[in-house]
């Protein structure tokens, strides 16, 4: 049962270049900073970065799982605080956790957190789900 202060078990997703390419195709966001290392370096980035919306989509998957399905997610917001850098040939972690901050009227407010390599990459992530 979900009550205030319920915490959910941490989950680790892995992001690599292939997943970033799949997300580019699935979302239609083909910005080269997410796929072309030379281009990413040329605009001052340390390497190819994952789409902020890919990290949010993975946090969204975590949210759907804890809510018991995507249809129960009513609100979801996040701030992209640091880029997730994806060097070639590496699986980079996205570690997600959540806590219930309030329960009322059949809805739960959730606060979520996501880090990559120990650095907070998503901040102020909040959601409201049906319970």
């Amino acid at each position: 049962m979900i009550t205030t202060d319920t915490t959910f078990e941490e989950k680790v997703f892995y992001i690599n270049r292939a997943l970033v390419k799949s997300y580019a195709d699935a979302s239609g966001d083909q910005n080269p900073i997410h796929q072309n290392e030379e281009f990413a370096l040329s605009v001052g980035l340390p390497n190819v970065i994952a789409h902020g919306m890919l990290t949010m989509a993975l946090v969204g998957k975590y949210l759907s799982d804890l809510a018991g399905g995507s249809a129960k997610v009513l609100e979801f917001s996040a701030r992209f605080t640091k880029p997730v850098i994806i060097p070639a040939g590496v699986d980079v972690d996205l570690t997600v956790s959540a806590i219930v901050t309030d329960v009322s009227d059949g809805k739960a407010s959730i606060s979520l957190a996501a880090t990559s390599q120990g650095v907070k990459v998503i901040g102020l992530a909040k959601a409201v789900i049906l319970i």
Binding site: F13, L19, S22, Y23, D25, A26, S27, G28, D29, H51, G52, M53, L54, M56, A57, L58, G60, K61, L63, S64, G69, S70, A71, V73, L74, E75, F76, S77, A78, R79, F80, L124
Partner: protein, 129 residues
């Protein structure tokens, strides 16, 4: 800088966007979602980003998309998106302000089906100076 008289204005996308099962399947595959009967919570970005990109890139508005970084994102979902849904899309430039040499633009987009809003999204875009 974005044209000041575009702030507060609402722009309507020209075409209906129809969601297909294969679009939902592809999005679900990326995130490891096995339930493809409804779209995942952030799926609507696929529609709204494309629409708002078209609107904001109009020379009369003047947003330089090549300098845009996504600052934050919010979704309000009245009901889940399913394959076969057709949406009209409107985007409103809610605010634009200069902060520390960058321009921060907030865009609200609404996806409506049969005249009723199904999903509202707010995107904060940082246009690097």
């Amino acid at each position: 800088m974005i044209s000041p008289d575009s702030i507060g204005r609402t722009f309507a996308g020209s075409d209906l966007a129809t969601v297909t099962q294969s679009q939902i399947d592809a999005f679900c595959a990326v995130i490891g979602e096995s339930d493809t009967s409804v779209a995942p919570p952030t799926f609507s970005i696929r529609i709204t980003l494309d629409q708002s990109q078209k609107i904001l890139s109009d020379p009369a508005i003047g947003l330089d998309w090549t300098r845009v970084v996504h600052g934050d994102q919010r979704f309000e979902l009245k009901s889940p998106i399913k394959a076969g849904d057709s949406f009209s899309c409107t985007s409103t430039i809610e605010s634009a302000k200069a902060i520390a040499g960058n321009e921060i633009v907030t865009v609200r987009s609404d996806l409506s089906k049969d005249g009723a809003i199904v999903v509202s999204t707010w995107s904060t875009l940082v246009v690097r100076g």
